[in-house]
């Protein structure tokens, strides 16, 4: 997954310059460099794809080179644009308060809870895992009644399990509750 590895750093690295200004530095620069880097990666990464020379027309490397080349051009323009102070319009949505400073603590907590859920899902099973996921996320996002959040989480965990496993035949991990439900 190397094309995406630089991405996880984007929000984390963006956290630092939020307060203090460091001249030309902008968090968006990371995303722009990712675009540029991906262009290079696409070209370098497909170097080892041995094009069957006997093939009529063009092999499996032509289009990646096209895409990679275009990405490099766009990436350079993007980096320059960011350095010159250009900016896009952050997406608007009903629940977004654009005037507020970014709340990195919430983002980190939501990310942490999601990754923890990913790590334990196969051990604790869907019902327990999903209930904890819902409870944790809703509390982090500001749910006022913790007991209610817990109850909703457990109900959602059980209902989705029954609906998808028993009703739709989807495979979800049962965990310790395997035999009980």
């Amino acid at each position: 997954m190397s094309p995406d590895t630089p991405v996880p750093e984007a929000p984390a690295a963006g956290a630092a310059p939020e307060g203090g200004r460091r001249g030309w530095w902008r968090p968006e620069l990371i995303l722009a460099l990712v675009v540029l880097g991906l262009g290079v990666f696409v070209i370098v990464g497909t170097l080892d794809v041995s094009a069957a020379a006997s093939q009529l027309g063009i092999g499996p490397r032509f289009f990646p080179i096209l895409v990679g080349g275009a990405m490099i051009v766009v990436g350079v323009f993007y980096v320059v644009d960011v350095l010159r102070g250009g900016r896009g319009d952050p997406e608007e949505s009903e629940d977004i308060d654009g005037d507020m400073p970014a709340d990195w603590r919430s983002v980190a907590l939501v990310s942490g809870i999601f990754l923890a859920f990913t790590a334990v899902l196969n051990t604790v099973g869907w019902i327990i895992g999903a209930s904890l996921l819902f409870f944790g996320l809703s509390v982090v996002l500001g749910a006022e009644h913790r007991v209610r959040a817990a109850v909703v989480g457990v109900v959602l965990g059980i209902v989705t399990y029954l609906l998808f496993v028993k009703g739709l035949g989807v495979t979800l991990p049962g965990g310790p509750l395997q035999g009980v439900i």
Partner: protein, 503 residues
């Protein structure tokens, strides 16, 4: 057989009890996700893609069509009743709609939006019936170079139109194209960009990409800037309108339809431009009471843009069904659904699967009618949905995102990929990169590559084969124009500013 006959057969297929049920589930689900902020039709269809393994194609597409149209209806309810800016296509509706609602005319605003959506949706779907066979006849002779040029036009159009910053639109497109490259090359069986990870040989599933960019990306973005005040929802009863509202609404509905359909059918047209044009036109044409009310909640300013919005949704289906060309994120996901069934939309689809295509088109008429019934009397119910506490809403969205992605292959590895894509979606939102070009690039990219290689194989390596067909040449010229428009516009703006500064 004439298209009218085929449509009648489509109705026969769509009117079976099972398919009616699928349509009802689709429109209900569509309205629900349309009303709820943070989740839309594109992501809902993406999450439901796995059902394509068990449900016959006709039923699945009838349901997807319902979700697609339902999402448009639901979006207008949100923008009228909720006092916060939303996504760009429904923002215009909010301008007058929310002011009407706060003046106590919420019921009339919702009614003109719902009835206008119905009128526009029905007329535009009828236009689709007329236009589709014409486009099919025209496109039947398209060669691979023409299809490649079409894809280029769609790429450039979507990237240039959806973002004020061209470079950000193109960056988003590039990210999608790269994701689409990952995996085994379909023609030679060579692995590309997989870094030796066996799970990547099949590429990254479109469900994971769509759910990551849309659902998880949105949830993380909301977490970073959650509006902590409770949502302010204008209370409303049953949606209805009086005689004078009808008199003021019907012309804007028709004009809105006329704006919406052609723009929806254009690559990169979308819903933003026609809704805005409709709004501006109604403002210009307003006389008497409406003129006084414009800006304070005039019904014309809701009726026109809402009609334009729905007509453009129907227009989007013309290039999707007849050429296999998606021009919006939802259309791209629908294209992915066709691919799951091994179907390729385009002229051949109308030849080989007329029952499926016409059944889907017929279900659009049926779904539209259902939506009218669902939205007029049930408006108070949808208003209640809007009050769902946001912590629960976004926790629930993440839970369903995890469920849908885990269910694909039953591995937690996919959840990690989902998370990485979620971070990408978050960064894109924060820095104003539109999401749609990425989704279209990922889904349409591999097809563009196949057509390009076919064309070059026919030309035996001669690149001029790409512009030898007049259609391809015109399409590529248009793409170049779309690419240069923002640049030219910027230069013109600068020239206008320059003398102003001198004074």
């Amino acid at each position: 057989m004439s298209s009218f006959q085929l449509l009648m057969e489509g109705f026969a297929a769509a009117l079976t009890p099972v398919n009616l049920l699928f349509a009802l589930v689709g429109v209900t689900l569509g309205t629900l996700v349309g009303v709820l902020p943070g989740i839309g039709p594109a992501m809902t269809v993406a999450l439901l893609l796995p059902i394509t393994f068990t449900v016959p194609p006709a039923s699945a597409f009838i349901m997807f069509a319902g979700i697609y149209y339902g999402g448009m209806y639901g979006g207008s309810t949100t923008s009228i009743l909720l006092n916060t800016p939303g996504e760009s296509s429904s923002m215009i509706t909010a301008l007058e709609g929310n002011k009407m609602a706060r003046r106590g005319r919420a019921a009339q605003a919702l009614a003109t939006a719902a009835i206008g959506s119905f009128v526009a949706g029905t007329i535009a779907t009828a236009l689709l019936v007329v236009a589709a066979p014409l486009v099919v006849d025209f496109a039947i002779g398209f060669g691979p170079e023409d299809y490649f040029a079409l894809a280029v036009l769609a790429f450039v159009g979507v990237s240039a139109v959806l973002s004020r910053s061209l470079v950000r639109g193109l960056a988003s497109l590039g990210l999608g194209l790269v994701i689409g490259l990952i995996g085994i090359d379909q023609q030679t069986g060579q692995a590309r960009l997989t870094l030796g990870v066996p799970q990547l040989l099949d590429g990254i599933d479109v469900v994971i990409v769509a759910v990551g960019l849309f659902a998880l990306g949105e949830a993380l973005y909301v977490a970073s800037r959650l509006r902590h005040a409770a949502p302010e929802v204008v209370p409303v009863g049953r949606a209805w309108m009086g005689r004078s509202d009808w008199a003021r609404s019907w012309k804007p509905w028709l004009r809105g339809t006329a704006f919406g359909f052609p723009f929806g059918a254009l690559p990169g047209g979308g819903a933003e431009i026609p809704t805005f044009l409709s709004y501006a036109t109604e403002k210009k044409l307003a006389r008497g009471v409406s003129r006084e009310e414009y800006g304070k909640g005039a019904i014309e300013g809701v009726a026109g843009p809402e009609a334009a919005n729905n007509a453009s949704a129907a227009g989007t289906l013309v290039p999707l069904l007849t050429l296999g060309l998606p021009t919006s994120a939802t259309a791209a996901i629908l294209l992915a659904a066709f691919q799951q069934y091994g179907l390729q939309p385009g002229p051949q689809l109308f030849d080989h699967n007329p029952a499926l295509v016409w059944g889907m088109i017929a279900s659009l008429f049926i779904g539209n009618t259902m939506l009218l019934v669902l939205n007029l009397p049930l408006a108070p119910l949808w208003a209640r949905v809007l009050r769902v506490p946001r912590p629960y809403l976004y926790a629930g969205i993440i839970l369903f995102a995890a469920l849908g992605v885990y269910a694909l292959n039953g591995t937690a590895v996919d959840l990690v990929v989902l998370f990485v894509l979620g971070l990408l979606g978050f960064a894109m939102r924060r820095f104003g990169l539109p999401i749609a070009p990425a989704v279209i690039g990922m889904i349409l990219g591999p097809m563009a590559e196949i057509q390009l290689r076919r064309a070059l194989a026919i030309g035996a390596g001669d690149v001029t084969v790409l512009v030898r067909s007049p259609i391809a040449a015109v399409l590529l010229l248009l793409s170049l124009g779309a690419l240069l428009t923002p640049v030219v516009r910027k230069l013109a703006e600068r020239r206008e500013l320059a003398p102003a500064r001198k004074e």
